[in-house]
């Protein structure tokens, strides 16, 4: 019997038996849609969260900080990617210049450079606008080695030159306006408009390239507010915003990069006589409080980390973030798949019942076909094809359903103002379809076999 004939006859039956077809298709399509939607929601969420994580954490970087680590017992053990001369005379737990040099010399290390948090300070522009910025002390020439791109300008080696990230050029506001807005917001805490206005102001861009700025510090030690302004600093470079980050998010993180020399100068200018602590947190000369190591490949992260730990330093990577996410989303996906499969199993019961009913009604027809020369295999194949066809149709309907559901979800999330986008990865369509067809075929097997066993005599028995 030719496949074309089998499928045509199966199609005839599917067309004629509207109730059976409707029952089976509904069941399968719900199951299929459940699988597709569940998998897709999981994947959409994963993409969204992974994007967020990748924006904030670089996977091929290691943060090195003083202290901790595994004190190494001399040479030996797993040498790994490079040989580290373990010197017992190295200051234990301290992140020294010497150790920085060693780390820079390690195999697989593309770059190792200090990135030190020096605290938050106020930046003041020439037209008297202010913004709170995070000061990071780093080798400005190394910024590009850590995936930063310059939107404007570049790094200059001069003392007094700084680099701003894109966020630091957004939402600069003059003191009066800001104070007025704050006062208004305090007075009317439930005025939605004021908040929107605040958000809008937060992303207003300012032209900062080649502009002069000053850093302002307040002396908290004295009773009356005492301010000190630094000498002017020149903005020689502005970093581009990471791909996919919107302005509002970018505006939350305002960073100013400066060289250690500039930082020392600034620290001197802004120190208050009566204050014991500096406005800038600077580590002692010749040491660092934080290094960022860029590794050539994510696969080598762990081995480089071990080397660093032998220098009695803390080394931390961001891989755990990904792993945590992966574990969480694997669980979500498995649960989703489980729900889909469960619905399909329920659906398959409806198919088995409907098909068995249908074979019972068609006993006479099956008998006639047997008298006309159909063998058991052919009858069985006809019924299994019919079931597979029901699965296919249910699957198509299920795909349509899942697109509708995802559209609905996007509308829902869109109206909630979240940046998340639900999409159906193309790979999920064949997965959903094959589950649907498989359900059809599997649940068709029993009715098909019982149909093929129908006695040919049934056809001619007159009662």
């Amino acid at each position: 019997m030719k496949i074309r004939d089998i499928s045509r006859m199966a199609w005839e039956q599917v067309k004629r038996r509207k109730v059976v077809t409707g029952l089976c298709m509904t069941g399968i399509s719900i199951g299929c849609a459940a699988i597709i939607v569940a998998l897709s929601v999981g994947q959409s969420a994963q993409v969204y969260v992974t994007d967020q994580v990748n924006q904030n954490f670089k996977m091929d970087e290691i943060m090195v900080s003083p202290g901790g680590g595994i004190p190494s017992n001399g040479k030996g053990g797993s040498g790994g990617g490079g040989s580290v001369e373990v010197n017992e005379n190295l200051d234990p737990g301290k992140l020294t210049d010497q150790k920085l040099k060693i780390i820079q010399g390690l195999n697989h290390v593309k770059a190792a450079s200090p990135f030190q948090e020096a605290g938050y300070l106020q930046m003041v522009t020439v037209d008297n606008k202010i913004a709170d910025v995070r000061i990071i002390i780093a080798d400005l020439k190394m910024l590009t080695a850590y995936d930063h791109k310059f939107k404007q300008g570049g790094a200059s080696g001069q003392v007094g030159s700084v680099v701003l990230n894109y966020g630091a050029t957004l939402g600069l506001i003059d003191l009066e306006t800001r104070q007025k807005l704050f006062d208004q917001m305090n007075a009317e805490p439930f005025n939605q408009e004021l908040y929107q206005q605040y958000d809008k102001l937060g992303v207003v861009p300012a032209e900062m390239y080649r502009k002069q700025i000053q850093i302002q510090a307040q002396d908290y030690g004295s009773t009356a507010p005492v301010y000190k302004l630094s000498s002017p600093l020149q903005v020689d470079g502005i970093l581009a915003s990471p791909k996919g980050m919107d302005d509002l998010r970018a505006s939350y993180e305002k960073i100013m990069y400066m060289s250690p020399e500039t930082a020392v100068q600034l620290s001197k200018e802004l120190s208050f006589d009566n204050s014991t602590t500096s406005v800038l947190t600077l580590p002692p000369e010749g040491t660092y409080n934080s290094l960022t190591v860029k590794v050539d490949d994510v696969a080598n992260i762990k081995s480089v980390e071990q080397m660093i730990q032998k220098l009695t330093l803390n080394a931390q990577d961001n891989l755990f973030q990904q792993e945590m996410l992966k574990e969480q989303f694997d669980m979500i996906k498995m649960a989703a798949l489980g729900i889909g499969v469960f619905i399909l199993v329920i659906a398959s019961i409806s198919i088995i019942v409907a098909m068995t009913m249908s074979t019972h009604q068609r006993r006479r027809q099956i008998g006639i076909m047997k008298v006309l020369g159909a063998n058991m295999g052919q009858i069985r194949n006809m019924f299994i094809t019919e079931a597979a066809l029901l699965g296919l149709l249910g699957g198509i309907l299920g795909v349509a359903f899942s697109y509708l559901i995802m559209m609905g979800l996007n509308k829902l999330v869109g109206s909630a103002g979240e940046g998340m986008n639900f999409f159906i990865p193309t790979m999920n369509l064949p997965i959903g379809m094959s589950f649907a067809i498989m359900t059809g075929v599997l649940s068709g097997i029993y009715p098909a076999i019982s149909a093929s066993r129908t006695d040919a005599l049934t056809a001619i028995k007159r009662d």
Binding site: M1, D5, E12, Q365, I368, M369, L372, G373, M376, R462
Partner: protein, 308 residues
């Protein structure tokens, strides 16, 4: 061609066995048309179903083309049936979801014959049974007599060596009954197909070449009739029709490549037919049938793969 040897059959109902057929013996020659006559409940259908291999007798043997069908397993029997046996039902038993032509083609669908070949064959047969214009209608759109014609065409499409008809006119009025019987008689004459027709009406049975009468499961008489002559003039036009069928069939056959297994099977079948034919021809009591029969034999070879 067909030989029934010591067939005894009992049905089991509950714990009791009811004997329905007792030691039935008879033989039918190739190309013969015989009636199985008997009143209701005499065991005619049981005997027919046994001969068609639809069930197994309690005892005895049934030989068709020298093969004991009693010994065949389910699938072998299905294979044998589809090649050698045609069946005409009292209630036509057409598949309502298929058109008339598709119904006629159905047995060939199970044999994986190409759509082109079976369409040509089905249309030729529909013409032969007198309803060429009904090919694309559905069975529900036909009268009882027309439906039975479709069923007859369907039974012929595999070119079986024997056709069993169980009360083929049982659901029809007497005028239509006559039409159907005369179609069967003509087919028997022109195509040399063996017919075994079950009926409870003597009026129908008396038109056949021989009558076997069953009473309460016993074969009581076997009457023979003189060869029929009154319908002889009809042979000419029927012959033309037959030639037409062959023509189309051969084109179709060429279009359809055959597997080695099929060719071998058909060669084997051809050889068997040859072996049977001389004996049949000698025993044949119907002189006008000589010519068409030779044609059938000649046609069988090229159509079935040719002689080596």
């Amino acid at each position: 061609m067909l030989r029934v040897e010591d067939i005894t059959h009992s049905y089991k109902s509950g714990n009791e066995w009811t004997s329905v057929l007792h030691k039935i013996n008879f033989a039918v020659k190739e190309g013969e048309m015989v009636a199985l006559l008997g009143s209701s409940g005499s065991g005619k259908s049981t005997l027919l179903n046994l001969m068609a291999g639809l069930m197994k007798p309690t005892e005895g043997h049934i030989y068709i083309a020298d093969k004991d069908i009693v010994k065949m397993g389910e699938n072998k029997l299905a294979e044998f049936r589809r090649k050698n046996i045609g069946f005409i039902f009292q209630a036509y038993e057409l598949i309502t979801s298929l058109t008339v032509r598709e119904n006629v083609e159905l047995p060939l669908v199970f044999q994986s014959v190409s759509p082109r070949a079976r369409k040509a064959k089905a249309l030729a047969l529909l013409e032969q049974v007198g309803i060429p214009d009904k090919a694309d209608l559905f069975p529900s759109q036909l009268s009882g007599g027309q439906q039975q014609r479709v069923s007859i065409a369907r039974s012929l499409i595999t070119e079986p060596s024997v056709i069993f008809a169980d009360e083929p006119t049982g659901n029809l009025d007497s005028k239509t009954e006559e039409e159907i019987i005369s179609i069967l008689l003509n087919l028997n004459r022109t195509m040399k197909t063996t017919f075994i027709v079950v009926t409870h009406e003597y009026k129908v049975a008396e038109q056949m070449q021989r009558i076997f009468t069953l009473k309460d499961g016993f074969l009581i008489t076997e009457s023979q009739r003189e060869p029929q002559v009154q319908t002889e003039p009809q042979i000419e036009p029927q012959l033309e029709l037959k030639t037409e069928v062959q023509g189309e069939e051969q084109i179709a056959e060429e279009a359809e490549p055959q597997t080695m297994v099929e060719v071998e099977e058909q060669l084997a079948a051809g050889a068997e037919q040859e072996a049977v034919e001389p004996q049949t021809a000698a025993a044949d009591e119907d002189p006008p049938a000589e010519e068409p029969e030779h044609q059938t034999a000649a046609e069988a070879d090229p159509a079935e793969g040719g002689k080596p």
